[in-house]
């Protein structure tokens, strides 16, 4: 079983000192190690953004693709080879702006991939423009007079998409993030983690870690029924604190299993000759 550091490449991250994404990188390696996953059996698909660079820093199969399209690509990967552990990851811009149209569909298919969004409420790589999760009133490179579009509540949104695993994490607490990633990977079906991963450079400086930490509330998943949707909505919608942990989880057949059933129903046989196929089309 590989130790955590073996899941890292020797490429130096381009991230700024203090970037929250370092915590995510560390957490992935620890989670992979704890799960005893073989490096060659993990695939991480990312988009474009500071956060999406993470693919190159993990010594697993990676696909640092294009902006906003992690989910379709990850879906293709998982279906092609269901034995792989497939992670999709990217930033809040990647996920919730250009890429948002793919989320409900991945969720409703319940494809067995883990989607971790590094949410820093800003566009880091392009130098600090607002994102769909930027709070109202903040100054960004593209909102010199302050943001004025109401941010998305992404947890609420994922609940409404009928995602079967919805969680929130904070990259400042690597240990807890590791636990969540492990749960998410173990979950059969689509698992979603909104990981608050601050950008000290363009969104609040190092102070923001403290501000967030002060507002965190860790959810106790044992204490409540995580499959209670109304409760999950209430937690997701709260303005009193930042919920951290599993917001919602339910069991639904994952997509690969559904597809397998379909193949069976259709009378699948792996080897079939040309004649056999064509014969039905002979007039």
């Amino acid at each position: 079983m590989a130790v955590a550091t073996e899941y890292k490449t020797n490429l130096k991250p381009v991230w700024c000192p203090g970037c929250g994404d370092f915590g995510v990188l560390a957490a992935f390696t620890q989670a992979f190690s704890a799960l005893g996953l073989r490096k060659e059996n993990i695939v991480i698909v990312t988009g474009i953004g500071c956060s999406s660079r993470i693919a190159g820093y993990l010594n697993v199969y990676g696909f640092n693709s294009i902006h906003g399209r992690t989910l379709p690509i990850a879906t293709g990967v998982k279906i092609a080879n269901p034995h792989l552990t497939v992670i999709a990851a990217g930033g809040d811009g990647d996920a919730y702006s250009i890429g948002i149209g793919h989320i409900p569909h991945a969720a409703r298919r319940n494809i067995d991939i883990t989607y971790l969004v590094m949410d820093n409420e800003i566009y880091g790589l392009t130098k600090g423009q607002q994102s769909p999760t930027s709070p109202l009133g903040i100054y960004s490179s593209s909102t010199p007079l302050g943001t004025y579009e109401r941010p998305l509540n992404t947890l609420e949104m994922l609940l409404s998409f009928n995602a079967t695993f919805v969680a929130q994490a904070f990259s400042g607490d690597t240990k807890h993030l590791v636990e969540l990633i492990i749960k998410a990977i173990k979950h059969k079906g689509f698992s979603f983690i909104n990981c608050i991963s601050p950008c000290p450079t363009y969104r609040g400086g190092m102070q923001i870690f403290k501000d967030i930490r002060a507002k965190l509330r860790y959810l106790d998943e044992e204490e409540r029924d995580v499959s209670e949707k109304e409760l999950a909505y209430r937690i997701a919608r709260t303005k009193d604190y930042i919920p951290i942990g599993v917001i919602y989880q339910e069991e639904v057949d994952e997509y690969e299993r559904v597809l397998e059933a379909l193949r069976e129903k259709s009378g699948a046989k792996k080897e079939i000759g040309l004649e056999e196929v064509l014969s039905t089309f002979i007039a």
Binding site: E40, V45, A74, G76, N81, A268
Partner: protein, 602 residues
């Protein structure tokens, strides 16, 4: 007695026009005849005008035929919609339902052909013999059998096949309607109209659409993942695979949009499964960013674009050849890809196989440019019994690399062995960012030049190893027609026609459009003094594209007509005639002297 006949059947919603056409065409294919079936509809989503056109011949069929020899109409009002595409031959025979009472002045055909109209009581026979006017298409089938000498046995079998689930009674009623009409026609028209086809029966043929042939080819080539998003005229590919792919252990995805579809296919291919996605123009526009990614990340991918009339939504149900530019040039930056175009239904099968082989061998995206005309028509062609298919799979890296595996190694031919997830010790990150051999981001100009060269090298090899050029006609031709894709049929027909008029004409049809097989085409053009480009794009996309890559002979003509109905032999021949005689007036060159000798059948 004829060796070749073109007929059309026109009706509306409940008339069963399409199913009659299908039964007839399939029966003919069963008897080994050549058949060419196209369908056409009015704008209503349901219940509007519908029609089909069947060409039947003992000999090779290259086009739907410019003119109708025989026309069947249930009501004249349905014919309006089709006047553009259903031109009547001067010696045509027209059969209309007795119930139709359109005043002569309102019949939408040339006045002088009105006397060629005959009445048959299709509906009446149906009502009387089958107890429902729904069976009037059966009466029509009976008439066709008698009038054209259509293979009766095969037709009846096909009808049985269709109705056996509905019970003995229904079947018998239908067969009676057929027989009654047959006898009616024999009684009334025997010897009065010349519509009989002469042929010898042969072995049963395959009979399918271009879309179906393409699916078969893909499946045979090893494709086990298809992602699509419904769009006319490519939806049938999605639908066909929905039925067949699971049977073969594969997967078909109806994606949320075209971007997701191509993304899924790229993901599946990255993970080692041969993957394809398909669409038409609007979806093609949406896929360009992803195609660039596949090119940069060097992932095998097959994309089918079944062209329809553009731009924008255009005319979804009609054909055009105006996606050539987006296929070849679509996408920002220099993103090598290959573009193939099938030339007929059967060729859709082979093109799909070529596409997968090229994609896998060279690790790049391959675009198949089909079109509505090829994809939705049905053709009969001989079965592929005993056919051996070469199936190529991407070159995989060595199992035990000594150093860090270099996914994008700068190997001499540019094709670095790849790895697929699951292979130990070969973890790498596929990237759309410019990168070094390992795949790490690199922003130096030197590396970008080297990697651009690596990717571009594939193109040279493709055009040398897979030129896929087709030419028809004499090698020492004076005149060459150049075209591509679905215009092959009429070009070959025109070559035959002109050659039989003592002209030396060939046609040159590249099936590999990009990278263009420049040397193969140049060779084919040796000795040619005039080139005539024939294509279905208002802005001469093909002509411009060829010009950009090839030095052409001095005399160049273009016939570029916007899409809609397919090009006809007649319109192109009359262009050629006027182009060449114009030339004669202006310059008096050699080719023209020949041209003046042509006696065109017009």
């Amino acid at each position: 007695m004829r060796r070749d006949i073109v007929l059309a059947i026109v009706g509306s919603g409940g008339d069963g026009v399409i199913s009659a056409g299908e039964i007839l065409a399939r029966a003919a294919a069963h008897e080994g005849l050549n058949v060419f079936l196209t369908k056409s509809y009015g704008p209503q989503i349901r219940g509007g005008e519908s029609s089909c056109r069947i060409r039947l011949s003992h000999d090779e069929i290259l086009s739907p035929g410019d003119c109708l020899d025989v026309l069947f109409v249930f009501q004249w009002q349905d014919f309006h919609r089709f006047v553009e595409e259903y031109t009547l031959a001067e010696d045509c025979a027209i059969f209309v339902d007795e119930y139709d009472n359109t005043p002569e002045s309102e019949i939408p055909i040339p006045k002088h052909l009105i006397p060629r109209i005959h009445k048959i009581p299709f509906e009446k026979i149906a009502e009387e013999k089958a107890g429902t006017k729904l069976a009037k298409n059966m009466a029509l089938i009976g008439s066709v059998i008698e009038l054209i000498n259509w293979p009766e046995k095969a037709v009846n079998n096909a009808v049985e096949e269709k109705f056996k689930r509905k019970g003995e009674e229904v079947l018998r009623a239908n067969l009676t309607a057929i027989e009654t009409a047959r006898l009616y026609v024999r009684e009334h028209f025997s010897g009065k109209v010349d519509t009989t086809l002469q042929y010898e029966k042969g072995e049963a043929k395959l009979f399918m659409t271009g879309n179906e042939a393409l699916c078969f080819g893909a499946l045979l080539a090893g494709c086990r993942f298809y992602a699509g998003y419904p769009i006319t005229p490519a939806s049938e590919i999605l639908e066909w695979f929905s039925t067949y792919m699971p049977k073969f252990g594969g997967t078909v995805m109806q994606a949320e949009d075209e971007i997701a579809a191509v993304g899924m296919a790229i993901g599946a291919s990255y993970a080692g499964v041969k993957a394809m996605c398909g669409t038409s123009g609007p979806g093609m526009s949406l896929k360009t960013e992803m195609i660039g990614l596949a090119s940069m990340a060097e992932i095998p991918l097959v994309v089918v674009d079944v062209q329809r009339t553009g731009p924008s939504t255009g005319i979804p149900t009609r054909t055009e050849q105006a996606d050539l530019q987006i296929a070849v040039y679509g996408g920002h930056g220099d993103a090598p890809r290959a573009v193939l175009a099938p030339v007929d239904v059967e060729d859709c099968f082979f093109t799909a196989i070529d596409a997968f082989n090229i994609a896998e061998k060279f690790q790049l995206p391959v675009i198949i440019l089909s079109d509505q005309f090829i994809s939705q028509r049905k053709e009969a062609f001989p079965s592929f019994n005993g056919l051996e298919i070469e199936k190529i799979y991407r070159d995989l890296a060595n199992d035990n690399p000594e150093e860090r595996y270099q996914r994008y190694a700068l190997v001499p031919n540019g094709i670095s062995p790849t790895a697929i997830p699951g292979m130990p010790n070969h973890q790498y990150t596929a990237v759309g960012i410019e990168h070094d051999p390992i795949g790490n981001p690199s922003s130096t100009t030197q590396m970008h030049i080297k990697m651009s060269e690596k990717r571009a090298k594939k193109l040279l090899q493709i055009s040398e190893e897979h030129p896929l050029l087709r030419t028809y006609g004499p090698e020492d031709a004076d005149i060459a027609l150049m075209g591509w894709g679905s215009t092959k049929g009429i070009l070959k027909e025109i070559v035959k026609e002109l050659c039989s008029n003592k002209l030396k004409v060939k046609c040159i049809i590249p099936r590999l459009l990009h990278p263009l097989p420049v040397s193969a085409i140049s060779k084919a053009l040796t000795g040619v003094s005039a080139v005539i480009f024939v294509e279905q794009s208002y802005s001469h996309q093909f002509y411009r594209y060829i010009r950009a890559h090839l030095d052409l002979p001095e005399n160049v003509y273009q016939y570029s007509r916007a899409g809609g109905i397919p090009l006809t032999v007649g319109e192109v021949i009359s262009f050629i005639k006027s182009a060449l005689s114009l030339k004669e007036l202006q310059e008096g060159k050699k080719i023209v002297t020949i041209a003046s000798e042509i006696s065109f059948k017009e």
